[in-house]
Symmetry: none
Subunit: 213 residues, 2 copies
DNA sequence: GGACGCCTCCCCAGTTTTGGGGATTGCGGT
DNA sequence: ACCGCAATCCCCAAAACTGGGGAGGCGTCC
């Protein structure tokens, strides 16, 4: 039984390139090739693919929306996103819409055939940088409900940290706490050490996300 | 510069097997090999690895707890879980504890060296079935209700804002977005205007508290 | 065509932060 | 009495950020 593949991509060169590549692979059959996703559900119904390669940028209906529609109608079809972009928003939108893999166009070729095979075996092919993003997203999620970690900040350091989060400069903090500018600096250095950060912006982000204030 | 690797695994055969395998790889150096994680933070401090291979089943402290401890003390170290089990609970616990990859023992060997290389390049190596689980988890995630407060930031400004919250400097942002330093400055000025702030720290605080990212 | 927003790049001059060092006091343990 | 540590202060040089300008290209809407 060969694997039937459908391609959605507005660029004809890309479609033809992929088709050419896949034709050299045994057990793979091109079920269809489409330049837009306006009729994607109907197209899929007609061509009955097992796996779909979906571009994100397309006129009319975006690849992400197409994934949602197709998955709704055919939950068992595996969809592999393939795009030039890796901004977080589109990556997660694609995954949430139901994509089973996400690879960047710059390493298509050899990877593509491997990815298709992997999909069929229950895998989830992702380009390395995409996989990392996904893990980071998952790591962020539970932070909102996770037990607060103690960074062993001293009372004075916590006061300084609170001022930093308010957006005060060293000078203003010194003023408010009635200490010298240099003392503020000392506290900040200690905070950097304890929080494993190296700038005020990182400090603020960490302080808020981990509820240190 | 070779990559320093530390191994935590209670099975001596496994430790030795991995060490044997890695010694054949150029640019890889065994920093340490430990049969338990009871002193993991101290062990890591002494052996200074770049990458850690962590088994889950260990007497005393579990590999998952060890990941949490090590990541807290050394956030920059990459940790690769390698275990025989793939039940959901342990997979997600490991990821949430801070692991950067998760591979199954049954395809160690060739995959292991690739995975280590991938980690160093910012990837997140996962066995195919693990990757699939991770994606499914992400798809299940509750859809967070978006707050209606809109500061009318342009798409580009939002990208810049996201970088700022990550703690990147102007230079690093310019690099990541493939624009010049001065353009980043322009965007930041516009963001300051629109958010009514006057420094990066205020910006980060407002962005996180108002969920603008 | 003109107005407007967005994205891109540039200059100058000034302020703030950062990364290295130091140093002193005082307080609480062993 | 000694040690650790929080808290206070100091200096220097480099790097980063800020404010206030200007300017061209591109697209949309009226």
């Amino acid at each position: 039984m060969s694997i039937r593949i459908a391609i959605f991509d507005d660029n004809k060169n890309v479609r033809d390139g992929i088709a050419l590549l896949l034709r050299t692979v045994p057990d793979v059959e091109i079920a269809g090739s489409f330049s837009h996703a306006l009729d994607c559900v109907q197209d899929v119904r007609n061509s009955r693919p097992d796996v779909i390669l979906m571009d994100i940028e397309m006129p009319g209906i975006s690849g992400i929306e197409a994934v949602r529609l197709i998955k709704q109608a055919f939950p068992d079809i595996q969809i592999l996103m393939q795009t030039a972009f890796e901004d977080d928003e589109r990556v997660f939108a694609s995954i949430c819409a139901g994509a089973s893999g996400y690879i960047l166009k710059n390493h298509l070729d050899s990877l593509l055939t491997d990815s298709i095979a992997s999909l069929q075996c229950g895998g989830a092919p992702m380009s390395p940088s995409i996989a990392r993003k996904v893990l980071e997203k998952l790591q962020q999620m539970p932070v909102q409900t996770a037990p607060p970690v103690d960074y062993h900040l001293s009372p004075r350091e916590k006061e300084v940290l609170a001022c930093i989060v308010e957006g005060l400069s060293y000078k203003m903090i010194a003023d408010r706490l009635h200490i010298s500018y240099e003392t503020v600096r000392s506290h900040v250095k200690k905070i950097y050490e304890k929080l494993h950060v190296a700038s005020l912006t990182e400090t603020v982000a960490k302080a808020i996300n981990h509820k240190l204030i």
